[in-house]
Symmetry: C2
Subunit: 334 residues, 2 copies
């Protein structure tokens, strides 16, 4: 069995920088026609200069592949003039609550202070992408943030607000409440729960933010994905860290899924009899919601076993992928 996807998109991707960028960017470019590239570098991507320089490095790292990087800015206060000049080069602006995840220390401390910039974004039609977590108890953080989405969706009715990497049944429900809310969901949150992270042995390579939640949350996310819910897009949040930062006394948050995402999704959708919905989930919804015309690229997935590498290595870096060493029943036809 085979399925050919037209221009699959990864709507939430961490490519990092320097040697790690060189290792992981080609792996995304082999699977996807484009990806929304996160701006949480050190220092963050928050100016025309840093944006252009980073885009050049991404393009250099993916040279030879058909791959459109959709660049994002790190949310801070921007003037109308700044945003007008940045507008042509960005897909959206990513808001991190300060300290919520990797390299988010310079994020937003109070949503109220961010609303001036949001007003300008609304007027210019720049999407707001949000890491939506409170600073509360780890299992409650997304749920506790939902009132912020409600507030923003109401206050800025023409602003496109994307709830990034949603992890709860409540966030899925919220999609249907506001016209201007959409969401991305990762591969791992369709598959795992906290049980997989901490129910048996502790699994650092499945640890990410937001953390995987309860079985009923996972089930709601999976049902929405399998139905290609029209407001939901695939965004891997693939977030590489070197092994020494994962298997350590304090393990960094992030699951690396870029090279295996499409085959694992094909397997998941096939097992649930929803293979015909995969195109919309990995591309169609994103193109419609964000008015994208990605480069034409066909990725054919075949029902053929593939053993996931234990580690991806190169440029002096190493990253352990999700499902390392496991055999999965779909693969990308080269």
């Amino acid at each position: 069995m085979e399925i050919t996807l037209d221009s699959p998109l990864d709507m939430h991707l961490h490519l990092r920088d320097s040697q790690m960028l060189k290792l992981v960017a080609p792996l995304s470019a082999q699977s996807f026609a484009g990806a929304v590239v996160m701006p949480n570098l050190v220092p963050p991507v928050n100016s025309a200069a840093s944006l252009h320089a980073y885009r050049n490095r991404v393009e250099e790292a993916t040279k030879g592949e058909i791959f459109q990087p959709y660049m994002t800015l790190f949310f801070q206060s921007y003037t109308e003039q700044e945003l007008a000049s940045l507008r042509p080069d960005i897909f959206g602006i990513k808001l991190y609550p300060a300290g919520a995840t990797t390299n988010s220390e310079g994020g937003v401390k109070a949503i109220h202070d961010a609303e001036g910039t949001m007003k300008i974004m609304e007027e210019m039609g720049i999407p707001l992408l949000v890491h939506g977590e409170s600073h509360g108890f780890v299992m409650d953080r997304e749920e506790e943030f939902l009132h912020v989405y409600r507030h923003l969706a109401t206050a800025f009715p023409k602003l496109t607000i994307c709830m990034e990497h949603i992890t709860t049944a409540s966030a899925v429900q919220l999609l249907d409440e506001f016209e201007n809310l959409c969401a991305t969901v990762t591969l791992q949150h369709l598959i795992i729960t906290l049980d997989d992270v901490a129910g048996g042995m502790l699994r650092p390579h499945l640890f990410c933010k937001p953390i995987a939640k309860r079985p009923e949350d996972r089930d709601a996310l999976l049902q929405a994905a399998l139905a290609a819910h029209p407001k939901l897009m695939f965004g891997s949040d693939s977030a590489p860290h070197p092994i020494h930062a994962k298997e350590a006394c304090g393990c960094a948050a992030g699951v690396f899924t870029a090279p295996i995402a499409l085959p694992v999704l094909a397997d998941l959708f096939e097992r649930h009899g929803a293979l015909e919905k995969l195109q919309d989930f990995v591309s169609g919804n994103a193109c419609r919601l964000h008015h994208l015309t990605p480069p034409v690229k066909h990725i054919t997935l075949a029902k053929k076993d593939m053993t996931v590498p234990d580690v991806y290595e190169g440029y002096g870096k190493n990253v352990v992928p999700m499902k390392a060493g496991e055999t999965i029943s779909w693969s990308i036809r080269s």
Copy 2:
């Protein structure tokens, strides 16, 4: 400021075996007058021969210290004759649901099948110590097991049943429902929540089973401990694993607290104005509930800074303690 504790007891302790036993047993013997020693070795302690041999090894490892090991048997079906001959040498029998934690593969698969042995234990006055977790979602496992405690406490009204290392507010409440239920609680569950394990970086050295729960659970446990709730005893569940088994792709469950438990408890009880309750929490309640007369031993704790070692090493083993490298404001006066 100083406080002298009479014969402090650790009512739940993992000493392991071989070289690890030699490393960690003296550290417990320096703080405590005695400890209830868990039987989940490989193979488990489940016969007179293995019990006597293990006790001898524990005594050898703590030679020169005043330290009473209270030995336990691994729960399985035992005959009346077996238990009659074992009775003088054991403190109690520890029941593990199969697969619930480290080295519990040979545990109980169905509680119903265990009731014959429990009946004999009730008649002989042998306490039943229980790792009370279901096989459900990791945050619900203790709560889902409580009905088993209710059933056993009702079915065997003269059997002393100890809920080991309780982690939830619901388990604290259950203490007051049944005369024959008591409980132990660890140091870490009085202090941490899942936030400390997985809310920031993932912290393998704070990962244990049952996993740390919600803030309201931690608060209920702490209030019960600070009040020296008469059915609650200190049991560290100190559970050493070598570094390579903790900072790994799959991290073993267990927090190593034996050498720091009393100073950290003194600090905790002092900060909450409950220092006068510490004696009952770490000894008095256990002596009364289990009719123990531990060896006379006085441990004096002084309000004097101590820096916790990064690692305890010896006999070719290494173990990272809780609060490694941190300075705590109480120490044991030598």
